[in-house]
């Protein structure tokens, strides 16, 4: 019964392009492999440093999403509150490909002045998933 319910959910979710954080992790790994044949995997520690530090510009990921990704964030320029970025605290995070892609593009541009590599995205996601 439970199994059937989950199957229905899965079918429903695929038909609306919803995904899980694990699906994104797999995609990032495949891309990272392509970008760098020496790719060995993702690191939550590296992701944490990437998240908390600035990268030659004014803001870090933590500037808007809070030092603790399980906490509510506050947009550094507008003051608007943002739901926590860690899936443990906000189950809707990393479930919509168009949304994830759009915000990586915008936010990486703002924090690094360039697009993020697949390695960077995978490291950050590993970190976000490690916060429970």
């Amino acid at each position: 019964m439970r199994f059937a319910f989950i199957t229905v959910l899965l079918v429903l979710s695929f038909s609306t392009h919803a995904e899980t954080p694990a699906d994104f992790q797999k995609q990032f790994a495949a891309q990272a492999q392509q970008e760098n044949p020496a790719f060995t995997g993702f690191s939550a520690e590296q992701g944490q440093r990437f998240y908390a530090n600035t990268h030659g510009k004014e803001w870090s990921c933590a500037s808007c999403h809070s030092q603790n990704p399980k906490a509510i964030g506050q947009h550094i320029a507008t003051g608007k509150t943002l739901a926590p970025l860690a899936p443990a605290a906000s189950p809707e995070r990393f479930t919509r490909p168009d949304k994830v892609e759009k915000w990586f593009k915008r936010n990486c541009n703002e924090v690094l002045g360039r697009a993020c590599t697949a390695q960077e995205k995978g490291d950050v996601l590993s970190y976000l998933l490690s916060v429970r």
Partner: protein, 164 residues
């Protein structure tokens, strides 16, 4: 307090306002219950409410919205770019619901509601001078710091709370 009269008949007046854009400005001396109309447009509601609340289209004229929507990739120091189809769709909605006044002295379209004469006037009484620099408010554009139901387009006095 109320909105200037033009904001209540945007459809009726938009032609006139477009023709005389810039010149049209009314003092809000008539004081009945003008309110920001709640509007529904899915893409606007979703895309323009992520970094700040979705600002009411009535509070800027169509020229301003056109200028804002043209520069989304460098939008007040952030990247708010959209795909061209969504951008065009949202612009049509903003134009159809745009209000009146909104040009700078040099005749360029204003990009900020908070720089319109209406806004400055409406927000000058009763508010302490240091209000806009308080950390709890951060910016005049942070409408929901005071208008706690701005996300629902509710700017009434019931939901107004001035933070410390």
């Amino acid at each position: 307090m109320s909105l200037p009269y033009w904001s209540r008949w945007p459809v009726l007046l938009s032609g006139v306002l477009l023709a005389t854009a810039g010149a049209a400005f009314a003092d809000d001396d008539d004081d009945d219950n003008a309110r920001i109309r709640p509007l529904n447009h899915a893409a606007w509601r979703q895309e323009c409410s992520t970094c700040h609340i979705a600002y009411p289209p009535q509070l800027l004229p169509a020229v301003s919205w056109r200028a804002i929507m043209k520069g989304l990739d460098q939008h007040f120091g952030t990247d708010a770019s959209l795909d061209p189809q969504q951008q065009a769709d949202i612009l049509r909605f903003l134009e159809a619901n745009a209000g009146g006044e909104g040009r700078s002295r040099r005749g360029e379209p204003l990009l900020r509601i908070t720089e319109t004469r209406w806004f400055v006037h409406e927000h000058s009484e009763e508010l302490p001078k240091d209000i806009w620099s308080r950390p709890s408010i951060k910016s005049a554009a942070n409408c929901n710091a005071c208008h706690t139901a701005a996300e629902r387009d509710d700017y009434s006095e019931h939901t107004l709370r001035i933070p410390k």
